[in-house]
């Protein structure tokens, strides 16, 4: 006896289904089901995962696509898709239902079903008098595609219900089909089903009462059991329906927008034309044979795999950005494509890196290419609006991101459902160290006080573990757009996102990849905004027009690289972090490719793979470089025999171990997921044997495998690093040659990067850049470059004042006299916004009118309304509080987040409130291993996962930053000081190497009480 389950909800019916789609299809297959219809509620969010799982594991079961609905009236239906047209119809119904309601909900009435022409309808009667009316209506409009689905969950009154349904069937001639309305793949998920029900209705399980399922029958049941529950005819009907359903998700074909190709031309012809134009721009001195060959190879493959429109679509978008003066840069695997370079999608010159086109597209991969394009973060919205305007909201939508249960949320929700006190749950959540891989979270929770052996404790641990990874809701992807030639809702349902004017499809990027649907990532990058602003300022102040290509076309500038080698890289893209700054003096990048390596090497992958040290030794010529073969040499020569990039690993696997392109790509995926799945182990034998067969010795093979393992998911693709290196070099070049414009642009582009405005301003001042304060008569909203005595200075803008609104500033600028305000009273009279006046007063912006900001604010706060005629008669007394330097510094930090004149440490030192200490600027004067005392504001704390519990604390004084290293034992022994200090004194030892100095912390002393009132926020990094 064969059976097809036609009503089944996975956990993509959020907080209703208790099993993953993969688990459902696996279990149904094991039970010998003919088919399984995945019918999540008003959604097809789970179907691709089920489809992919069946495909990868070659399961025999057939997947049917459908969806379950509850109408406003309470009636319940399932729509199934027998063919492509029905699928489009289903997507349309879901989209309409979702769009009418707010995010996460839907609205459907009976008349919505009237227009159904292709879907099959399974009706689940309520068991009430209403059923007659519904039956009449359904038979009238959908007689030939209608069934009455009966589920047996062994509930009370079922006999009566079945009799009622049989009467309906007889009266209205609707055939009956058996179903189980499955919510879990196995009955062992029953407790979890109860837990998610309780979570959904916001009660504990104890209080949930009859909302809980009375038994576990809503699970996939064995065929023998089903035959006992249902008459054969009902079961056979399920097969009959399943047989009608021939729609397969593989039939979904991606149709790109057609309007991009001019009339009379084919897509490939047009693409070739554009590439030819691009060659003239990118290779003005002509092409080498190798590059010509590669371009032809790429174009042939693009045509063969029918990706022409994809490239044309992206080209169109970047051309819009270019014409609008919006900086952009393609990155990721696309940088391996010379065609992308010619189309101006990417900026990485392929002559400068070792491209691997197969990393981007290959026949074996059978996946669409993935192109990420970064745009200026302040102008990305213009690009998004362009896409919406050009293609319409019907044809363009963002991909979804599935928000799943992580440990924190799982503990919270499961704990509440079991009635555990909220305070205790918060206690667990705050104390669990998720990065501690030696102690699993279960053990940690027990150590924190959960009674692990009690029944409730065991239930808690089990349920939390089960719910981890369960989807909670759909959110919008950061910038992944799907654009199609026809209405998107015929391809995949579209629903409202939380953000206004945004719609998302119900599939995430993994689903899109699985189905071969193309997505364009429209991402935002702060540094692009900063660079563009810098170019504008340079044009304005120096009458010089620059773009990224102009700078990269210049030869490698020694002075710029020298600056990098001294780790003078605050504000420079990708190489400004503490870790990067420690590496720069050791690696000493001197050319573009060095920078590519620099960016890629300071990452957990190379660190854990033990590649960093060998590379540095070889670079310093302290270790000989050798290669086991010429083939390997050609791959690793650029990195001195040490694999640093993902592409190198793939190439070695292909060249040295005989992997095909597709196998190598599977290896890449396994590397990316190995921490989660351990799949990498499967490749060990093939790698080792392959290399040994080709004459490589075991030691080399083992070493390479271990390096790959260490790489794990943290390896950087070379192309990615290469794209970033372009921006790193450009930003460094701008810092060196146009520092005033550079810092101004960075400040105008915040928030971005590693450093706060305060740190950027301090770095600017340390580079002898003059920074002028916010001034009511001289500033505008943005920071700008001004000339004072022929010297270029940065004039801080009003945007730096906390709480200031752009509109209020516009109004101030509109009423500001040409020669400026002459008194506080005049400002007060002319400027409408009271809050703005208060904010400016506190920030010291009225320094040109009054040297007492307390009094300025006092005057501003007077709300008594004066007519101008009597104003002199009614002036009230001036405020008697006169701010000291310390007060001014506190006010600066409170209002601006920085202080130009007074660093807190300088003031405290001048007041004699600090013990003797060494300033950052003098750190290098100390010998290696000498004892030292340093102190400063705690502005950064970093505890990298690779650092075995070590914390790097950055202390800022008035001359710069000191990097201190705090071992975990030190931190533990002085925990309070370590955790809570805002001003920290460290007694320790200097560690100096290659011009980089750190302080190994010994004694920690909290000096925070000396600085009450200053809000110093330390950034914490992992």
């Amino acid at each position: 006896m064969m059976y097809a389950e036609l009503v089944c909800q996975s956990n993509f019916s959020f907080l209703t289904g208790a099993s993953h789609p993969e688990e459902l299809v696996s279990q149904a297959n094991s039970l010998g089901y003919h088919s399984l219809a995945l019918t999540d509620e008003c959604s097809v969010a789970g179907v691709v995962k089920a489809f992919q799982h069946i495909k990868e594991n070659k399961l025999a079961i057939k997947l049917i696509v459908g969806s379950f609905f509850k109408l406003d009236s309470g009636a319940q239906f399932v729509l199934l898709c027998p063919n492509r047209l029905a699928y489009a119809e289903l997507c349309r119904v879901i989209s309409n239902a979702r769009k009418r309601a707010k995010k996460g909900q839907y609205q459907l009435a009976l008349w919505d079903l009237k227009s159904i022409k292709h879907c099959l309808i399974l009706w689940l009667p309520k068991g009430s008098l209403e059923d007659d009316e519904n039956a009449k209506w359904l038979v009238k409009y959908h007689k030939t595609r209608l069934w009455l689905a009966i589920k047996r969950h062994l509930k009370a009154g079922e006999t009566r219900y079945i009799t009622h349904c049989q009467q309906l069937s007889e009266q209205f001639k609707i055939p009956i089909v058996a179903c189980s309305h499955v919510l879990m793949h196995h009955r062992e998920r029953f407790p979890l089903l109860h837990a998610i029900t309780a979570i959904r209705i916001r009660k504990s399980i104890d209080e949930a009462g009859f909302a809980l399922a009375s038994n576990a029958e809503a699970s996939l049941r064995s065929l023998s059991k089903l035959t006992q529950l249902y008459p054969n005819s009902w079961i056979e009907q399920s097969i009959a329906i399943a047989t009608l359903c021939q729609f397969d998700l593989a039939q979904l074909r991606y149709e790109y927008p057609q309007e991009l190709v001019p009339q009379g031309l084919s897509a490939i012809t047009y693409l070739r034309q554009l590439v030819t134009k691009g060659i003239a721009v990118r290779f003005p001195n002509g092409l080498s044979d190798a590059i010509k060959k590669t371009i032809e190879k790429e174009l042939t493959l693009i045509e063969e795999l029918e990706y022409e429109y994809f490239f044309l679509t992206i080209h169109d978008i970047v051309m819009f950005a270019k014409d609008s003066g919006i900086l952009y840069q393609g990155r990721g695997s696309a940088a391996n494509s010379i065609v992308c370079y010619c189309l101006e999608i990417t900026s990485v010159d392929p002559r400068q890196i070792s491209v691997l086109f197969e990393r981007f597209i290959s026949r074996e991969r059978n996946e669409p290419p993935d192109i990420d394009v970064d745009f200026e973060h302040h102008r990305r919205e213009e690009v998004i609006q362009y896409i919406y305007q050009k293609y319409g909201r019907e044809r363009a939508a963002l991909a979804a991101t599935v928000i799943t249960y992580r440990l924190k949320s799982a503990i919270r929700d499961i704990g509440k459902s079991l009635g555990i006190c909220q305070t205790q749950l918060e206690f667990f959540i705050k104390r669990i160290n998720r990065r501690n891989q030696d102690v699993p979270w279960q053990t940690q929770v027990v150590q924190l006080g959960l009674a692990g052996e009690s029944a409730k404790g065991r239930q808690f641990l089990q349920l939390v573990e089960q719910i981890l990874g369960f989807p909670r809701h759909l959110s919008q992807h950061v910038g992944g757009f799907v654009i199609s030639s026809g209405p998107l809702y015929e391809l995949v349902p579209v629903e409202n996102a939380a953000m206004a004017e945004r719609t998302i499809i119900q599939w995430d990027k993994t689903d899109l990849e699985s189905l071969g649907l193309l997505k364009v990532d429209i991402l935002a990058l702060g540094m692009l905004s900063a660079i563009r602003k810098c170019f504008q300022l340079i044009k304005c102040n120096h009458q010089r027009t620059l773009n990224i290509a102009d700078i990269t076309a210049l030869d490698d500038d020694e002075k710029v690289y020298s600056m990098m080698q001294q780790a003078d890289t605050v504000g420079v893209f990708q190489i400004e972090s503490r870790a990067q700054m420690s590496m720069l003096p050791r690696l000493k990048p001197a050319c573009y490719y060095d920078l590519v390596i620099q960016i890629a090497i300071v990452r957990p992958g190379p660190i854990q793979g033990n590649m960093v040290h060998p590379f540095l030794l070889r670079r310093a010529k302290e270790q000989a470089v050798s290669y086991p073969s010429e083939a390997v040499k050609s791959i690793l020569e650029r990195t001195l025999g040490v694999p640093i990039f993902q592409e190198q690993v793939i190439k070695i696997a292909m060249v040295a171990a005989g992997f095909s392109g597709g196998e190598a790509d599977q290896l890449r995926r396994a590397m990316a997921a190995w921490n989660k799945t351990g799949e990498l182990y499967k490749f060990k034998t093939k790698l080792l044997q392959g290399m040994q067969t080709r004459g490589y010795n075991t030691a080399f093979a083992e070493q390479l495998y271990n390096q790959i393992r260490g790489f794990g998911e943290y390896g950087f693709p070379e192309s990615h690093s290469a794209s970033f290196a372009v921006l790193a070099y450009v930003s460094a070049w701008l810092k060196y040659y146009y520092p005033v414009e550079f810092y101004t642009s960075l400040l105008n582009s915040l928030p971005m990067g590693f450093y706060s405005a305060s740190q950027l301003v301090q770095d600017a001042q340390q580079h002898q850049v003059c920074v002028l304060p916010v001034c009511v008569n001289a500033s505008v909203f943005d920071h700008c470059v001004v000339k004072v005595n022929e010297r270029a200075c940065i004039r801080l803008g009003f945007r730096q004042v906390k709480g200031v609104q752009h509109d209020a500033i516009e109004q101030l600028l509109a009423v500001r006299p040409l020669k400026g305000f002459t008194s506080i009273a005049e400002v007060k009279r002319r400027v409408q916004s009271q809050p703005l006046c208060h904010q400016l007063a506190s920030s010291g912006a009225f320094a040109c009118l009054s040297d007492n900001r307390f009094d300025s604010r006092w005057q501003m706060m007077n709300q008594e309304h004066h007519l101008p005629l009597f104003e002199p008669l009614s002036e009230d007394q001036h405020h008697t509080m006169i701010p000291s330097s310390f007060d001014n510094m506190l006010e600066d930090y409170a209002s601006l987040g920085l202080s130009l004149d007074h660093h807190p440490i300088r003031l405290l030192d001048d007041a004699g409130l600090l013990p003797r200490f060494t300033r950052a600027s003098h750190l290098n004067q100390h010998e290696n291993r000498s004892l030292i005392t340093v102190l400063g504001l705690v502005v950064g704390k970093q505890s990298p996962g690779t650092a075995s519990g070590v914390t790097f604390i950055t202390l800022e004084d008035d001359t710069g930053n000191v990097n201190t290293i705090v071992w975990s034992a030190t931190a533990k022994a002085q925990q309070q000081t370590y955790l809570t200090s805002k001003v920290l004194l460290v007694k320790g030892m200097v560690e100096k190497a290659n011009g980089v100095a750190h302080v190994i912390a010994g004694k920690l002393v909290d000096l925070s009480d000396k600085l009450q009132g200053v809000n110093v926020t330390s950034r914490s990094f992992r």
Binding site: G209, F210, R857, N862
Partner: protein, 466 residues
């Protein structure tokens, strides 16, 4: 005027800390997860007030964390006020942690502030609570000093002013926004603030700040609602003749009940519990409490219940004095005159009589519980725990027998199944697991039974249908 403020920062903690003096305990306010109370052990280990729970938990390994219960704090504060009311007249509750007592009116009874404070201190010691204190010429002034743990008892205006002026503006009872705004004009200390004229402040700040400062400095009147202990009813009847038979107690009891009724009705109040104390000739006492299921005020209604209770009394000696007192009264709510609802009132009277006869703890009522398990479908709740108006019953859809056997019996007779199975699987969460298939069946006599088959395929009778 002069005031004493008592600040109790650890009202909730003080009640539990005694049991675990060696453990670090904190009370956490749940909205922001910040520490609002902590014991000395926690302080020693670096935890501070206002600290986030995450930081506190990182500092102390075995930190005991409890959620803040504002209602509990308020109740304790009321009890303290009640306690102090014996020695001091004008007491007002200010926020959840403090009491302010008016001193100047009490100086007629106590010679000076010192003596007054001695009495208060003595009374407070018996309560064993953490308390900080201060005097002031306004309630707010005293409050600020006490909250800052100044612990000053003085009637010297200059001295108190000096103390107050030294305090930081952040210690005042202003909003965070107001405090920040004052800092922005350089006003960091109370002395700086009070030196500014109210008129100037009024031009710049909202009225709440102006009022606060005015009340702090005494420029504006600060009217308080003083604590009034709950009015109790007490009446006593000294008998002209000793009564040695219970039946003769009815008349004097009726007289007392009449007074009670008058007391309640004139105040539009009702009560649910009476306490009698019968003093016997041999100076021993018999205590009797009478409970009604619903609040009453009429003498006759109470008489019916008291009579039942009196019937249980045995007098070892004649009664010479009868005292009646009531401690808990509440406002009378007008009874529903709906004819259909009158039946409910009869039930309450019946329940009252049962309580009177049997005692409150022996009168229980079954209420339905929303649970699939038949054994859990009802539970008995003691009448004293039940508030009749608050019950809401969730109705299940399953058909259930009229009679459920307390213990299922093994099937004893042949049955024919009419309906089923209804599978019930529940109880994994409270360790009362059942997995049963229920059926409705009838025997040869036509009686309908509710049967079940368990996992071991054994059959049981569990109920009968009417």
């Amino acid at each position: 005027m002069m005031w004493l403020y008592l600040h109790f920062p650890c009202l909730q903690l003080d009640s539990i800390a005694e049991d675990a003096p060696t453990e670090a305990i904190v009370i956490v306010e749940q909205t922001h997860n910040t520490i609002v109370q902590l014991n000395d052990k926690a302080k020693q280990l670096g935890v501070r007030l206002g600290m986030g729970m995450a930081t506190a938990a990182s500092l102390v390994n075995n930190l005991q964390v409890l959620p803040y219960d504002s209602e509990l704090s308020r109740q304790r504060l009321t009890k303290i006020a009640h306690h102090l009311y014996i020695v001091s007249a004008d007491i007002a509750l200010m926020d959840e942690q403090g009491l302010v007592l008016r001193i100047d009116t009490m100086l007629k009874l106590y010679n000076d502030v010192g003596c007054y404070w001695q009495q208060i201190e003595r009374d407070l010691t018996s309560l064993n609570l953490t308390v900080y204190f201060a005097t002031g010429y306004t309630p707010y002034a005293a409050q600020v000093l006490a909250q800052q743990q100044v612990n000053v008892i003085s009637d010297n205006r200059a001295e108190l002013k000096e103390h107050l002026n030294r305090q930081r503006v952040t210690s005042l009872g202003l909003s965070e926004k107001q405090k920040a705004a004052l800092q922005r004009i350089g006003v960091l200390q109370v002395g700086q603030l009070v030196s500014l004229s109210l008129a100037d402040l009024a031009k710049r700040f909202d009225i709440t700040l102006v009022n606060y400062i005015g009340r702090l400095t005494g420029q504006l009147v600060h009217s308080l609602t003083f604590f009034i202990p709950h009015e109790n009813f007490t009446a006593q009847c000294e008998l002209a003749h000793e009564i040695d038979q219970v039946t003769f107690l009815n008349q004097p009891v009726a007289h007392l009940l009449g007074k009670l009724a008058h007391f309640l009705i004139t105040r539009n109040q009702v009560c649910s519990e009476l306490y009698f104390i019968f003093t016997l000739r041999d100076q021993s006492e018999i205590k009797l409490n009478v409970i009604s299921a619903e609040p009453l005020s009429k003498a006759q209604e109470w008489q019916n219940l008291v009579d039942i209770k009196l019937a249980t009394l045995t007098l070892s000696s004649p009664v010479i004095v009868i005292k009646l007192f009531v401690t808990n009264t509440q406002a009378a709510v007008s009874q529903n005159q709906d004819f259909l609802k009158m039946k409910r009132g009869n039930v309450n009277a019946l329940i009252s009589m049962m309580i009177a006869k049997l005692g409150q703890e022996r009168v229980c009522m079954p209420i339905p519980t929303a649970d699939h398990r038949p054994e859990n479908a009802n539970r008995l709740v003691c009448i004293s725990d039940l508030s009749m108006r608050k019950l809401q019953f969730e109705k299940g859809e399953s058909l259930r027998p009229s009679i459920l056997l307390p213990t299922p019996l093994q099937l004893r007779q042949p049955m024919k199944i009419l309906q089923g199975p209804e599978r019930v699987e529940a109880g994994w969460w409270d360790d009362r697991v059942i997995i049963r298939d229920y059926f409705i069946a009838h025997n040869q006599q036509g009686q309908c039974y509710w049967l079940f088959r368990d996992q071991r395929k054994r059959w049981f009778e569990h109920g009968l249908f009417c």
